[in-house]
Every structure is written in C-alpha cells, then in structure tokens.
C-alpha cells in the first residue's frame, strides 16, 4: 500500500510540472508582460516608462528563463519562470495585481466556498441515489419513464436559469430567503439555503440519470438473478445486493470531486454574492488579473490530482477485488 502510494505521488509530480509549464506558456510566452501592462494600464496611459514601472512593481521585469546578468544560481532563480511559476509548487502564490496577498485571500475564501459545496455534495449524493433507486425499482413502468423524461428535461435547462428562477420565486415572490449575500456563523444559514437548493435541483437530472444507468447495469448481473431465484423479495434484492454493489462506482466516482469542493462554483457564487473562491476567480477574470487566474489554475489542477489519488485509494477500500500493484 505504501509503496503504491509513493509511486502514485511520484507519478503526479510530472503532471503538476506539465500544468505549470502550460500555464507559464499561456501567460508569459503567448503574451509578453508588455502586452499585459498595456491592457492593464489602458490605451491612454501607455508610455514606455509606465510599462516599465508596472512591470517592475510586479516583478515582471526580469528575463524569462535565464538571467545572464546575475551570479551563480541566481542566474536561474532571478527569472520570471522561477519567481512566478516554480514558487507555485511551494504554494507561494505571490501578490495579485492589486497588491493583495493571493495565499491569504485563498485561505479566507475557502470557508464560504466549502459552506455551499459540502452540503450540496452530501445531500446531493443522498437525494440522487434515492431518486435513481426509486426509478430503478419501477423500471420499465410509467413511473420510470416519466422520471427519465423529467431528468432529460431538467438536464436541458441551463444552470443559470435555475439560479435566476430560484432567486425570483423563493426570494422575490415568496420572500423566504435573501436574494444574495453572506453572513457569519449561524447567520450564514439563511443565505446558504437557496444556493444549496438551487445547486441540488440543477444537477438532479444528470446525476439521477447517470446513477439509474449504473443501477440498471448492476441489475442485469448474474448475482441478482441468483438472489431473485432463491426467493428474495425485490426490495431486499435492491437494497442489500444491488445498492451495495452499485455504491462502488458511485462512491469512487464521487471521491474525485471532494478536493475540488474547495474551489467552489463560479456561477453560483457570483450570482449569490458569496465571497468564496469561485467569485474570486470570476472577479479576477473580469479585471484581467493574470496572477490570480494563474494561481487558481495551479490550485485547481493540484486539487484534481489529489482527487485522482484519493479515487485510487478508495477503490481498494470499498472493493476487495482490486489490489494495488
């Protein structure tokens, strides 16, 4: 187990380096810091001096990869690549273009993001599994058929309409929850109810349909036929045999998103005005703050790779047939 883990982590490192190189190429090679300075300063104030000042304030005035003027190891470390890209490996995100410490912002904003994403994840898993189990129980009847039709219809609606509709009905017409905003402590609950609810409904169709397929696939297997043949009731078959076996692909499929819960959701957070990482990213995109976007790309990839690692481990925990070799 330990050697497998070490090997998997070792395998993740080149991927992380690859991600780093891709972002470096995107942000510093396709567009030079000069271009970025011009955009940030606006057309009116562009002078060579202003660009030079903008660059030196943010440390973009160094050579890209190799500093011929420096001495010793500083030839390699006193460069944009080292300062802006290599340091990401130590989670040193540097400063945003407005001068704020990105690492601090990320730590502060993880909480609110998680406050939405975690309930959605947990309640969602429970709700979707129950709903799809219901459909699977009534398979090939009108209940199942209308359930699938409902799922396809729900899938065909853009997530933004769920948010807009939810805000309109729940907050404006019924006045049950505030339209947007965020509070501290217990106060936060009333702000969280609506976003969580909307996020749950928004992914209901797709998830339920997906889980239903897994259940049906499982129900076609031999052990289910055996269970029925020995006279177990259909409910018993469903809960003690099918559910347990179908939970393997469902759980292992869900594990990969757990680390990404920290990243929050771009659209939900920005619509509901929640100060999480998602709205942070949106704001950064809007103000073309390249440093923040770069940091979020790296963080997102890192968390995804952690998720893949957790998936591999969870396979072995829930399915004894899989051995880590």
């Amino acid at each position: 187990m330990l050697s497998y883990l070490v090997r998997r982590i070792a395998y993740a490192i080149p991927i992380l380096i690859g991600v780093n190189l891709v972002t470096f190429a995107l942000f510093f090679v396709v567009n030079t810091p000069d271009d970025m300075a011009r955009i940030q300063l606006g057309a009116k104030r562009v002078t060579p001096d202003a660009i030079a000042k903008w660059k030196s304030e943010r440390g973009y005035d160094k050579p890209l990869l190799y500093n011929a003027q420096a001495e010793g190891t500083r030839r390699l470390t006193d460069t944009i690549f080292f300062e802006k890209s290599v340091r990401l490996f130590a989670f040193d995100f540097g400063r945003a273009d407005d001068g704020r410490d990105i690492g601090r912002e990320i730590r502060m904003r993880m909480g609110p993001s998680l406050a939405i994403a975690l309930p959605v994840f947990l309640i969602g898993l429970l709700a979707y599994v129950s709903f799809s189990l219901l459909l699977a129980f009534f398979r090939a009847t009108y209940v199942d058929f209308s359930g699938v039709v409902l799922c396809v219809a729900l899938m065909s609606i853009s997530g933004m309409f769920y948010i807009i509709g939810g805000q309109y009905v729940v907050s404006k017409v019924w006045r049950l929850a505030p339209i947007s905003g965020f509070g501290d402590g217990i106060d936060a609950v009333k702000f969280l109810v609506l976003p969580v609810l909307v996020a749950l409904v928004a992914s209901l169709g797709e998830r339920t349909r997906w889980y239903r397929t897994i259940f049906l696939e499982e129900m076609n297997k031999d052990y289910v036929r055996t269970a029925r043949a020995k006279g177990l009731s259909e409910l018993r078959v469903l809960f003690t045999h099918v559910l347990r076996n179908a939970m393997i692909p469902i759980l292992t499929g869900a594990v990969v998103v757990i680390p990404l819960l920290f990243m929050g959701s771009l659209v939900t957070e920005s619509f509901f005005g929640i100060p999480g990482l998602g709205s942070y990213t949106i704001d950064a995109i809007g103000s073309q703050d390249f440093a923040v976007v770069r940091a979020m790309v790296f963080l997102g990839s890192f968390l995804y790779i952690v998720g893949l690692l957790l998936t591999d481990i969870s396979y072995t925990l829930v399915d004894p047939r899989i051995r880590l070799e």
């Binding site: 992380l16 991600v19 271009d35 955009i39 807009i164 659209v267 976007v293």
Partner: protein, 494 residues
Amino acid sequence: MSDLKIVVLWTDALVFLLLAGTLAFGFYIRRKEHLIAPWRRLAQSRAGMAALVVLALFLGIGLVDSLHFRPLVSGGGNGSERSYAVEVLSLLDVLLAPLRERKEKTYSAPLAAHLFAKETIELPDGRQIREYPRLLHGGAHLRDPATERIPDIGMRTARGVAYGGGLWLLADVLVTLTLARRRRTTFSTMHRDVWRGVTGIPWNVILITVGVLLLVAGPVFSLAAEYHVLGTDKVGQDVLYLSLKSIRTALVIGTLTTLVTLPLALLLGIMAGYFGGRTDDVIQYLYTTLNSIPGVLLIAAAVLTTQVYMDTHADMFETVSHRADFRLLFLCIILGMTSWTGLCRLLRGEALKLREMDYIQAAQAFGVRRLRIITRHILPNVMHIVLIAIVMDFSGLVLAEAVLSYVGVGVDPSMISFGTMINGARLEMAREPMVWWSLAAAFVFMFLLVLAANLFADAVRDAFDPRVRVRARTTVDDTEGTVSPALAVEGAMR
C-alpha cells in the same frame, strides 16, 4: 458589378465544410448496407425523429445565418471607388430585415404598443406629462391601442393559426402522396397507415412535430409583422430577432468544437492504443496533464490571453464581425482542447481492444502496413464512438457557451448569443415590474435546442452503440460488446 461583397468568415467556411462532409458521407453510405443499417434504426426512433425535426429547423436557421456579405454603400458607378458597409450582414438578416430595423428606444413588453418606461412627453399645448409613450413600430398601426390592441392580436393569431394549419395539411398530403407513390398503394391506405404508425419511419410523429412547429410559427410570423412578439431589449432591439440570431452561435459552438479537435483526438487516441509503449506513455501524459486543469479555468486563461493578443493586433481584423468571428473560432478550439481528452481516452481503449482482434492479427501476419491497418481496419470500427461522442457533446457545449459568456470569457460581447442575452437581461431582474421577456426567450429557445439535442443524442447512442444493442437482444456478458460493429449490425439484421 454586384452591389454586395461576399464575406466568408472562418466559422462559415468550417460550417459549410462540415455540411459538405456530412452530405458526402451520406452519399457514400447510400448503397452500403452494413453502414446504413444503424441509420435505419435511428430513423425508426420516435423521440429521435421528433428531435430531428426541431434540430433541422434550428440548423436551417443557422445555415441561412452563415451566408455573410457586406452591402455596397457608395460607389460602383463609373470606376469610382467602391466602399462597402462596415457591418457584415447575413442572409437571415435580410430575411428578418423588418425585425432588425424596427428598433425602439428601450424596453417594451411582448406585443406591447407602449414603451416599458414612463417618459416626459410634451403635449401640443405646451404642457408636459409623464406617460408611457407609444412605440415607434410595435402596434403603430392601431389608432387607439387600449381598445383595438387585444382584438387585433386575436385576429392576427387566428390568421396565423389558419396559415400554419393550412401548411400543415399541405405537408401531410405531400408526405402521404410521396409515400403512396413509392409503395404503390392508394392515398387513403397510405394515410391510414401513417396515422396508425405502422410505417417503418414514424411519419405520424414527424408530422405532429411539424404541425406543432407550424402552429406556433404561423401566429408568430403574422404578429411579427406589426408587433414585437417577444418584446424589445434595453437598446430597443427585437428579442425575437436576437433569439433567432443566437441560434447560429450556439450551433457553431456545439458542432465546430468537436470538429476542430476531432483529428487530434483520433490521431492521438488511435496511436496511443495501437502502438502502445513509449508513444502511449507520452500521449497519456499529455492528456492527463490537460485534463487536470479545471476546464473553465483553462478556457478563462486561454481566452484572456487571446483577448490580449487581439487587442494588441487590432489591425488583423477587417471588421468587428471578423474579430468576433475569430474569437468564436478560438473559443471553439479552446473548448475542444478541454474536451478532446475524454474522446481520446475512449479511442485509446477501443484501439487497445481492437489491436488484439483476430482480423487485425491476421492483417498483421499478412504484412499489411500499419498505416493501412489503422485506416482500413481500426478507423471504421471506432467511428461509431466518434459519432456518439459528437452528438453527446453537443448539448453540453451549447449550455457551456451561455455560462462562459456570462463569466466574460465566452463569445465577443458584440456577438449575439444566448449567453450575451442572459447576461444583458440578468441585471434587470431587480426592476419592478420585472423585465422577464429576454430571459424567457433565451430560456425557451435554449431549452428547445438542448432538449432536442439530448433526445437525438440518446437515439443515436441507442442505434449505434453495439453494447446497447447486444444487451437488448440477448443478455450476453459485457465482453460481447467488443464485437466489431459491422458484425453486430449483420447480426441485428437477420
């Protein structure tokens, strides 16, 4: 000597290339029984055909909207310098010229005769009052909207329904006549067969879908002559026009995205699976790395950098439309970059399986070159996966466009799309009473398009996926699903 200059935008060229490719493929498989069989199965699916009718309507609008030109503004006489409008128009713009040109001042509700906001109006006697002013075009033919508007709308709706119904009857007769002639039966037998649903292709479902569309389109057209059927937006543009124009953007995103990255996914996926070894390692590393970057962030990062590039190279683009089109194409490529990894992995797995099949082993033993094995034996046998992937991806991409445009990394703000429509309308949520019609229009059009695409994709998957078919026929173990589709098709035909 023409008074317009034809403009072929990048996406236009690709759209028509795709269309030509599809037609050529259709012509190619016309006489090949083993290739046409899954399409026959598809044609028998009721939901699939109903969805296809709706999709065909959208596709038609999108294609008409893909023929661009710039009208002549001045010159053209005796050797004087010709100059063309800065604005690039499409054939659809010409057809919808009344809708496009009848701009109001600002918001107006659907079918309204007055503006949505009060304005100060000066009366002939010099007094000033605050009132809802009349619209410039919507309901302008009415003398007293308060009493005449509702009856007028009713009459026009009835007329539209009559037109739609008439066209529907015509369609019914034409379809039945054609079928009756082909099958050499009488009109009445054929008509009964069609409506009992005993024709192979579910013509009754197709006719009902066409009928519903005609019955909706009839009144809309007849009302659009004098009203803004779906209201107007903030700058007074007709929302119906905006919705129809958005269709092309959605279609381009949905289709070209997969098309531009298809060669990459095919090449790398098959190479990884077939060659294995070092090649496989490198390709796997490549797609795992790209896959690790969260999609939206990669798109955002890439679009931000292109934006900078486009701002610094502004002289590259002839008109605003060229610029918006370049961005649209780039968005397609970037969206494709984040989605080709999935298809690549699927193809790698399939190629890995196919490599061990007897007929490939036999070809190898005969000394057939590897390139030829790939093109003759592997490629045709993974095409169903590619097709399923293309149709399955479509609806997701249409939805993604709206989100990305909202986030600010989607299409160019000057390009009409569902995303820009939603983004513009969202801020008006807080108004009292609410401006709901832009959102509602975007919702209805998007919902129809995506629902049709989803239903069609399901039908395509059911018709083409050998695993679904094998499982449906007998309950063979899943490994049976790896039989080459050609074999499975023959099995299904017997």
